[in-house]
């Protein structure tokens, strides 16, 4: 049953990603950043609904949600994303 529900939710996520890919031909390049962040946020939400988030991923979800939900301010987003990638890299190092 949960496999059906998961398949359903992932189908919509895949639909979103493909629609986003098509839309980016006509949209400002910056939108690509939001689309990828939003896809990551949607995937983390699916994981969260199944209690699959560990503390690091839960924190990552909070950071991404803040990026998605605030007013669109691309000026300092590059720095915030740099910091996020460095945190992920450190976490990857810890997990290897």
């Amino acid at each position: 049953m949960d496999a059906d529900a998961l398949r359903h939710e992932l189908f919509y996520l895949i639909g979103y990603m493909i629609t986003s890919a098509r839309g980016l031909y006509d949209e400002p390049a910056d939108y690509g950043v939001f689309r990828l962040l939003d896809a990551a946020g949607r995937l983390l939400a699916i994981m969260d609904s199944r209690n699959l988030l560990d503390p690091f991923l839960a924190d990552l979800k909070r950071s991404i949600d803040e990026e998605r939900e605030g007013s669109m301010d691309p000026e300092r987003q590059r720095e915030r994303l740099d910091a996020l990638v460095l945190k992920i890299a450190e976490e990857m190092q810890r997990r290897v």
Binding site: Y12, T19, G23, D38, D65, R68, E69
Partner: protein, 172 residues
């Protein structure tokens, strides 16, 4: 809320609570939208309210501009049959302005009632048209994600008034 307070405190809301949006509220918002000024009283619009969570979920997939999980979406359509022809035989561009006025009415009414919304231009028009069974003469122009605000963003920076407001004649 006083009208000016409503205007100055409205924000684009992208994060919503799970609270469902009553059908009567959506009816009121759409009545407000349809009360907007419209050139020659053409009313070149149609509004489709979507509340069924399964349909909203599909719209989220077809509309990458919808960031949060809104409990309702209003699809604002241009009704091509009601566009006016100019004397040159081209379409009157006022229809777009009419839709913009309707959008603002809808957003202000939502804010006044304690709801919030965000207009969405990033969506796949043929996909949304097909999914909603829109007839040929209705072109989806904007989606409006609506619901109770979960996060209200700070006021965005606006251009200084001296850059946009001139008195009597234009002066640098």
């Amino acid at each position: 809320m006083h009208t000016l307070d409503t205007i100055f405190t409205r924000r684009s809301i992208r994060a919503f609570t799970d609270e469902a949006m009553p059908e009567e509220t959506l009816d009121t918002l759409i009545r407000a939208a349809a009360a907007a000024p419209t050139a020659s009283n053409a009313q070149p619009w149609a509004f489709m309210a979507v509340r069924d969570p399964r349909r909203v979920e599909a719209l989220r997939a077809l509309s990458p501009g919808i960031i949060g999980r809104p409990p309702a979406v209003v699809v604002m359509c241009l009704d091509r049959r009601r566009r006016q022809l100019t004397s040159e035989g081209t379409f009157d561009e006022m229809a777009w302005i009419d839709l913009g006025a309707a959008l603002e009415n809808l957003l202000l009414a939502a804010h006044d009632l304690g709801y919030g919304g965000c207009p969405i231009g990033s969506f796949h028009k043929p996909g949304v048209s097909s999914f909603l069974h829109l007839p040929e003469h209705l072109e989806p122009v904007l989606l409006v994600a609506l619901g109770r605000p979960r996060v209200t963003p700070n006021a965005p920076t606006k251009r200084p008034m001296e850059e946009v407001h001139f008195r009597e004649t234009y002066e640098e």
